[in-house]
C-alpha cells in the first residue's frame, strides 16, 4: 500500500515536517512481534464502549522504556509500574479508559495489581513484565475484578491491528491519535514504528495527561531505548499545554520486539535516523493532542528566545497557559497585549523589561513597547488554524517552544457539564 492510499496522512502540522526516510503505513498496523485488542468491560457502569485494551509483545526480544508524570497524587497504575515493574522489559500492557484509578488509595493499588496479575497469568508472563495504565474519572472505585475477568476471556482474541486497542484508550478524544510508519535506515534496511495515543484536556506543563504506547520491530538495547524515549518525550509531550493541568496518570511506553531482525546500534547513523522518526512521530501525536484540546479550534506555538533557560521556560509556559491568550486565540483576535501581560507575569520584578513580540513574523512590540504594524495583516494572521507567537527576551542565552490549544466554549461545555 502506498502513502497515497492512506486516508489518514501521518504528518499534519506545519510544525512537524515529515522525515524523508519515513513512509506512512495504515495507521493501526502493528510492527512485527506485536498483537493487540480492545474490549468492552463496562469500566464505567453500563458503558458499552471498548474500554480495556491489551497489547502484547511476542519478541523475540521484549525491551522497553517508560516515562510517567510526577504528580503528588499519582494514580495507582503509575505507582504500580514505577514501584513493581521491570520497566526495561515490559512484554504486555493493559490500558483502560473510563476510570483513572487515581485517588483510590491502597484499594486502588490492589485493584491495579489484580488486573496486572490476571493479564500475566493469561499470557504466561511474570507480573512485573505487565504494565498497567488507566485514564478517566478520578476518585471513583476501580472495577479491577471486572477488567481481570474480561482479560481472562479475551487473551486469545488479539491480532496485528491496533484499532480496537486505540479505541479502548480514548476518552474525550475527537481526533485519531494512532500512526504507523515504515522507517528506512541509512544502510537500506527497514523497521516499523507505530503508536496509539490518548489525550485531550488536562494537558499540562512538563508533561501531558495522556497515554501513549509506541511499538517498533527494531532490536534496540534497553539503555538506547530509554535514551531515545527520554529525548523525544522532552521535545513532544513535554512541550504542550491544553489547560496547564498536570495529570495523575500520564504514561508513555516504548516497546521493542526485535522481530524485524534489524538492530539499532547505539550512536550509529541508524540510531539517528530511528530517533528522527520517533521524534517526528511523538511531536505529531503531541500536536494532535493540542489540536484536540477539549473543544479547540486553533493551535498556537509560542517560541521564546534570549534570556536564560529558566526565563524562556517560564515565559513560554505563562503564554501557553494564559486563559486570556487562549481565549484570544480561539477568537482569532491578535491581542498581543495579553502576550505582553503573560511575559511580565512570568518575570515579576524585572520591569521595565525590554522584550520583542511578533505574531506570524509580524513584529508588534519592540523593547517592551508597541510599534506600528499592519493591523489587517495581523488580523488575518491570527485567524489561521495554527498561529505562531515569537517572544524575544533581552540577552542571547536560550530558546524553547510550547504548543497550546485555545480556550473555547467547547472546553467549558465539556468540563462543566460532564464529570470527566
Amino acid at each position: 500500500m502506498s502513502a497515497g492510499d492512506l486516508t489518514h496522512e501521518a504528518f499534519q502540522s506545519r510544525w512537524v515536517p515529515a522525515p524523508p526516510h519515513c513512509a506512512p503505513l495504515p495507521p493501526t498496523e502493528l510492527p512485527a512481534g506485536f498483537r493487540a485488542g480492545g474490549f468492552a468491560a463496562a469500566v464505567k457502569d453500563g458503558d458499552t464502549r471498548l474500554d480495556v485494551g491489551l497489547l502484547v509483545c511476542d519478541g523475540p526480544a521484549c525491551v522497553s522504556a517508560a516515562r510517567f508524570c510526577v504528580s503528588g497524587a499519582l494514580a495507582a497504575p503509575v505507582l504500580l509500574c514505577e514501584q513493581e515493574c521491570d520497566l526495561s522489559g515490559i512484554a504486555a500492557v493493559v490500558a483502560n479508559s473510563g476510570n483513572a484509578n487515581a485517588a483510590t488509595g491502597e484499594t486502588g493499588l490492589a485493584q491495579a495489581r489484580l488486573v496486572q496479575q490476571a493479564a500475566a497469568t493469561a499470557l504466561g508472563l511474570p507480573p512485573n513484565q505487565v504494565a498497567v495504565a488507566s485514564t478517566g474519572v478520578i476518585g471513583v472505585p476501580f472495577p479491577g475484578e471486572r477488567i481481570a475477568e474480561m482479560l481472562r476471556r479475551s487473551v486469545a482474541q488479539l491480532d496485528h491491528d491496533a484499532g480496537d486497542f486505540a479505541a479502548a484508550i480514548k476518552t474525550t478524544d475527537m481526533i485519531d491519535k494512532h500512526i504507523a510508519l515504515s522507517v528506512e535506515l541509512p544502510a537500506g534496511e527497514t523497521v516499523r514504528l507505530s503508536a496509539q495515543c490518548k489525550g485531550a484536556g488536562m494537558i499540562s506543563p512538563r508533561f501531558a495527561t495522556m497515554l501513549c504506547f509506541v511499538q517498533t520491530d527494531a532490536a534496540i538495547d534497553a539503555e538506547t531505548a530509554d535514551l531515545l524515549l527520554g529525548v523525544t518525550v522532552k521535545r513532544s509531550f513535554d512541550r504542550i499545554s491544553v489547560d496547564g493541568q498536570l495529570s495523575t496518570n500520564d504514561t508513555v511506553l516504548l516497546m521493542c520486539s526485535g522481530a524485524s531482525g534489524v538492530a539499532i546500534e547505539p550512536e550509529s547513523a541508524d540510531e539517528r535516523a530511528f530517533g528522527e522518526a520517533l521524534d517526528a512521530l511523538l511531536r505529531e501525536l503531541a500536536l494532535r493532542i493540542v489540536a484536540d484540546g477539549e473543544g479547540a479550534k486553533r493551535v498556537g506555538r509560542v517560541y521564546v528566545s534570549g534570556g536564560d533557560r529558566h526565563a524562556v521556560e517560564r515565559v513560554a509556559r505563562a503564554v501557553a497557559n494564559s486563559p486570556l491568550v487562549k481565549a484570544a486565540l480561539f477568537g482569532g483576535d491578535p491581542n498581543w497585549g495579553r502576550i505582553a501581560q503573560a511575559v511580565g507575569a512570568a518575570l515579576p520584578g524585572s520591569a521595565p523589561l525590554s522584550f520583542d513580540i511578533a505574531i506570524e513574523d509580524i513584529p508588534v512590540c519592540a523593547d517592551g513597547a508597541v510599534i506600528e504594524f499592519d493591523q489587517a495583516a495581523l488580523t488575518a494572521a491570527a485567524q489561521r488554524d495554527e498561529v505562531e507567537y515569537a517572544v524575544k527576551l533581552p540577552g542571547a542565552g536560550a530558546e524553547t517552544e510550547v504548543f497550546f490549544s485555545d480556550l473555547s466554549y467547547g472546553y467549558v461545555k465539556i468540563n462543566a457539564e460532564y464529570t470527566t
Copy 2:
C-alpha cells in the same frame, strides 16, 4: 440615613461577616476632606462613557499608602507612581479606563507624566503628590494629551459623591464595587471609610488586576497607614483568583484626610477597630471582584491546612487556578477528583500523598483516597452560589485560603470576542 434604607448592602458574602462596629453609608458618599468626579474623555476613540476619574484630598492632612503589582511588564502609571511619587503623601489621583498604558514604553511614560502634570497644575499641587492609574487594553498608544485637556477643564466640577469616579474606572465590571462605612471606634468617636474598586478578569496570584481607591477622614500617620494597607491587602486582593493572570496595572491606594479630627494612634484599640473595618471592606471588595469574574456564576473558596507555608500556598493556588476545577464549579459539579489532581500537581514528587478533601463540610477523600459520602448532599452543596473546598495536607503547620471564580461560557465570550 439608616442601614435599612440602603439598597446596596455593604457585606454580601458569608465569608465576610459585617463587623459590628461598622454601619453602611450610601455607597458613593465620600468621607470629609475628599472630592471626586468622573468625566468622558474618549480614552478609547469614539467612546462616550465616563472614563477618567479624578479624586482629590483636601486635607487637613494628606497621608497615603499604596501597593502595586510586580509584573515585569509594569504599566507606565505604575512605574511613574513607584519611581516619582511621594506615596505617603498623595493628595490626588487620576484614574482612567479604556487604556492600560502598558507596553507603551518611554512614550507611555511621558504621556502618564503629562496627565500627572496637568492635574498637578490644575490643583496647585506638586506633581509627585498626584498618583495616576490606568486600566484597559494593553499595547495601545495612550492619549495623555486628551486626558490632560479634560482635567484642565474639569477640575472645578468635583463634589463629595464618588459615583462618577467609580463609574469612570469600570471596564467589564458588572457588579458595583464601591462601599462607604461609618466606623465607630472603641472610645465612641466615629470615622468614615469609603472605597471605589474596579476589577474583573485577569485577577491573579499574589494580587489582582484591579484598581482600588480607599479614603478615610481619620487622621493616620504614614507608617500606620502603610502597615494597615499592607496587612489588609494580603488578606484580600492577594487571596483571589479569577483566571490566574498577573496584571500590569494593579494599584491600591489608601488616602487619609484627617478631616474628622479623629486620630488613630498606632497600636491602639482604635487602630485595631479601624483595621478590622478596613479588612472587612477590602475582603468584601475582593469577593465582589471574584463574584464578578468575567461571566462568573459561582464563587469558590479553597481553604488549605497542614503542610507548611509553601505547600498550602501552592495547593491553594493550584486549586483556585485550575480551569478544570473552575469549569466544574460553573457546572455545579462536585467533581472532587479535579481537586485531588490539582493538589497532586502542586506537590509533584510527593506521591503517594496523604491528603483529605471536604466540600461544604462533606468529607469525600481521606488519606488521598475516595471515601463513602452522600452523593445527593454533595451535589446539592456544589450548586450553591458560594462553594467551599477544604484540603488537609499531612502535618499541622500552616493554613491559607484563596477565593476564586468559575470558568464560564461568559468568560470565553468576553475574552474571545472582544479585545479587552
